[in-house]
């Protein structure tokens, strides 16, 4: 068991109004799962992602990751988890606009304090893995949406994380590019057994996952479909998952 959540809550105070973003979540996640978290806006799915990704701590409850309770960890421990065990992909790609593709991937390795040489070679390798070796010296404004998201994926992958978190990864992409990107993620999951936790409102994307959960008003809802169905069972589109040399 990778994750074990017991009665996790998250409470925000927004303009003196109390917001229960998460109102008691019980959940377990195994290694190697491709989990899709669905729900409408304000359902708490982004908050749940933050909790799982050690970006924030729950207000109450226990959140065990590999046996450690993230709810009780200090700021620096959480930071270390993020830098060594997790990778993130964002809807808006979130690349540093002033740095090249290569340098953007390298930013993930800055907290590792490895030599500049090693950092460079690892980053180059990761870019190659997503098929963007020839775009290494371009800055984000010179790259297409799909290319930017690939760079982001390379950045997430470069440190071989235990879990990759994606927040609406295809939200800013057109359909075709979406297929490419999601296909890439799927390939990682299939071939490397990468644990993926994806927040999405796109049913098609969610359909590629091995497991789907639904959130509504901070609570888990009963899934409309069988939640442990493997990805194979879902009808795949004509195209193969994106394969890049």
């Amino acid at each position: 068991m990778l994750y074990e959540l017991t009665n996790v809550t998250k409470l925000y105070t927004q303009r003196r109004k109390r917001v229960d973003a998460l109102a008691g979540i019980d959940l377990t996640i195994d290694q190697g799962e491709f989990l899709a978290i669905q729900g409408s806006t304000g359902s708490g799915k982004t908050t749940l992602l933050q909790m799982l990704g050690a970006m924030d701590r729950p207000t109450s409850g226990s959140l065990l990751f590999e046996g450690r309770d993230l709810a009780k960890l200090g700021e620096s421990d959480l930071t270390e988890l993020r830098s060594h065990s997790f990778g993130f992909i964002f809807q808006a790609f979130n690349l540093i606009p002033t740095l090249t593709a290569q340098e953007n991937v390298e930013t993930a390795l800055v907290p590792w304090h490895v030599s500049i040489k090693e950092r460079r070679s690892r980053a180059a390798e990761a870019l190659e893995g997503v098929g963007l070796a020839d775009r290494a010296k371009h800055i984000p404004s010179e790259l297409s949406g799909g290319e930017q998201q690939r760079v982001a994926i390379a950045r997430a992958l470069v440190r071989a994380p235990r879990v990759i978190f994606a927040d609406e990864p295809s939200g800013n992409l057109d359909e075709r590019t979406r297929d490419d990107i999601i296909g890439l993620l799927e390939q990682l999951w299939r071939e490397r057994g990468q644990t993926l936790i994806v927040v999405t409102h796109d049913t098609w994307v969610a359909g590629r996952a091995s497991r789907r959960i639904w959130l509504d008003a901070g609570k888990l809802e009963a899934p409309p479909v069988d939640d442990r169905r493997g990805a194979e069972a879902i009808a795949t589109p004509d195209r193969e998952p994106a394969l890049r040399a």
Partner: protein, 486 residues
């Protein structure tokens, strides 16, 4: 990564960065220009004071004459016509008399005091000088009828006066010149310290008792003297070994001789009437003044700062201007620059919330991100410092080019202005009492220290601004990366 990131970010917002740097530059430049100007005024004041009583002198000591005391009053020559028995009743007698006395207003001080003062704490060196006036009267007594009377001739060159109507003086010629005895073993301190030899040579340090003299160029010209000629003081002949010029406005005597000779010629054994003291450092001057006062309670001890308060004229106005207005302006400009830099730094961070949030999500520690912000700010500050120094130097040069020659007037021949420090009065009498005006050119010097100060200020500004931005950045959360809108 650190420097790459800084450089790229500054390039991206180069306009704001430039604005910040320029703002800091203006603040720094005004500090540089004002400090240079104030320094120039200070130098000018020193120049004035130096020309008034010599390079290296920090304190002068003298003893002033109180009114009514005997010595120094109208001179009496005690001239008597020859005994009636020895001259013809209707004959005439020549007059040729010479008197050397201390300058008016000066009491003599035992020379041992010079040595005492040398030994005081904080005193680097001290010498004494004796300033004198030499009067020479020539003429004839004509006896017309019986009746003898003696005449006392006043020291004023007003011609003769007779009593009883029977004796007359004619063809009176009175000449005088000022004479100073100096310590030839230490010419770097004292009345000749600012002197320059234009012809011949200066005194040798072993000529303490020699009959040698230096004359000022003006006096030499007036009297047609050249090196090798001789000057007669009373009955002693002194050989002129050199012609000297002293800075304009400084008090000078016409003739300079070794101290021992001056003492002999004026019957002032082992006496001086002016002591020049050089302190170890500018900071010890007031302490030395106190010590001298203890050793010589009745003496008038004047320091250069006492005199500085006496300097009137455009120089002192320039100095007050530099002090008050200039400093406030510079401080205001600098504060404004710091404020602008801080605001821009904070705003820059606000526009990078998602960027910094992402880095935090990636595991970057807060302090690393704060370091980036500080780094950007410091680089901007450095740029501002460099530009500011360049602007400040240009500004100082401009001031130098534009400013008129400044005049400084010291003292007055009649009453001192009310509230003048007592010492200045004695000082002024020691200096001969006349009002002196010195003209100085104002320069605005830039020293290495000033440049370092300027760059330091700019760096501090950069750090301060960066701290504001950095604090803002440190408060960002990784979750900010997930914000939909920036």
């Amino acid at each position: 990564m650190f420097f790459t990131y800084i450089y790229r970010e500054l390039r991206r917002r180069h306009r704001q960065a430039l604005l910040t740097a320029l703002g800091l530059a203006v603040g720094v430049a005004s500090v540089v220009a004002v400090t240079a100007y104030a320094g120039g005024v200070g130098d000018a004041q020193d120049e004035v004071l130096q020309s008034l009583y010599g390079v290296g002198t920090d304190i002068t000591v003298s003893q002033t004459q109180k009114l009514g005391e005997g010595q120094g009053g109208p001179q009496s020559f005690g001239m008597r016509p020859p005994d009636s028995g020895s001259a013809n009743a209707a004959g005439s007698a020549k007059i040729d008399r010479s008197v050397v006395t201390s300058s008016p207003g000066q009491k003599s001080i035992p020379q041992t005091k010079v040595t005492t003062i040398s030994g005081l704490d904080g005193v680097k060196a001290s010498t004494g000088s004796l300033s004198l006036t030499s009067l020479h009267v020539t003429g004839k007594f004509d006896q017309t009828q019986g009746g003898v009377s003696s005449g006392a001739v006043s020291g004023m060159p007003t011609g003769g006066q007779s009593s009883g109507g029977s004796l007359q003086m004619s063809g009176i010629d009175i000449s005088s010149f000022s004479l100073a005895g100096v310590d030839v073993s230490n010419l770097k301190l004292g009345p000749l310290s600012a002197g320059q030899i234009t012809s011949g040579r200066s005194f040798a340090s072993d000529e303490t008792d020699a009959k040698v003299a230096l004359v000022t160029k003006a006096y030499a010209k007036q009297n047609g003297l050249a090196v090798g000629d001789s000057v007669k003081v009373k009955s002693t002949k002194f050989k002129v070994v050199g012609i000297v010029i002293l800075p304009s406005g400084s008090t000078s005597s016409d003739v300079y001789v070794p101290l021992a000779r001056a003492q002999k010629v004026s019957d002032n054994k082992n006496a001086v009437n002016q002591i020049y003291v050089q302190a170890d450092s500018a900071d010890s001057i007031s302490a030395v003044k106190k010590e001298i006062k203890q050793v010589m309670p009745k003496a008038t001890v004047t320091t250069s700062s006492d005199l500085a308060s006496q300097v009137s004229g455009s120089l002192s106005s320039a100095s007050s201007l530099a002090d008050r207005l200039g400093r406030w302006l510079a401080v205001a400009a600098l504060v404004a620059a710091f404020a602008v830099a801080s605001l821009l730094s904070v705003s820059a961070v606000s526009r990078r919330v998602r960027e910094f949030g992402t880095l935090k999500a990636l595991g970057w520690k807060s302090r690393r991100i704060v370091g980036q912000v500080l780094g950007e700010s410091v680089v901007t500050g450095l740029a501002g410092g460099v530009i500011g120094v360049a602007l400040g130097i240009a500004g100082a040069r401009l001031i130098t080019a534009l400013s008129p020659d400044l005049k400084a007037t010291m003292g007055s021949s009649v009453p001192l202005p009310p509230g003048a420090p007592a010492g200045a009065g004695g000082m002024m009498e020691a200096l001969g009492g006349a009002a002196q005006t010195v003209t100085v050119r104002l320069a605005a010097p830039i020293s290495l220290n000033l440049v370092l100060l300027a760059v330091g200020l700019a760096l501090a500004g950069g750090l301060l601004a960066g701290a504001f931005g950095g604090w803002h950045a440190a408060r960002l959360r990784p979750a900010d990366a997930l914000r939909r809108v920036d």
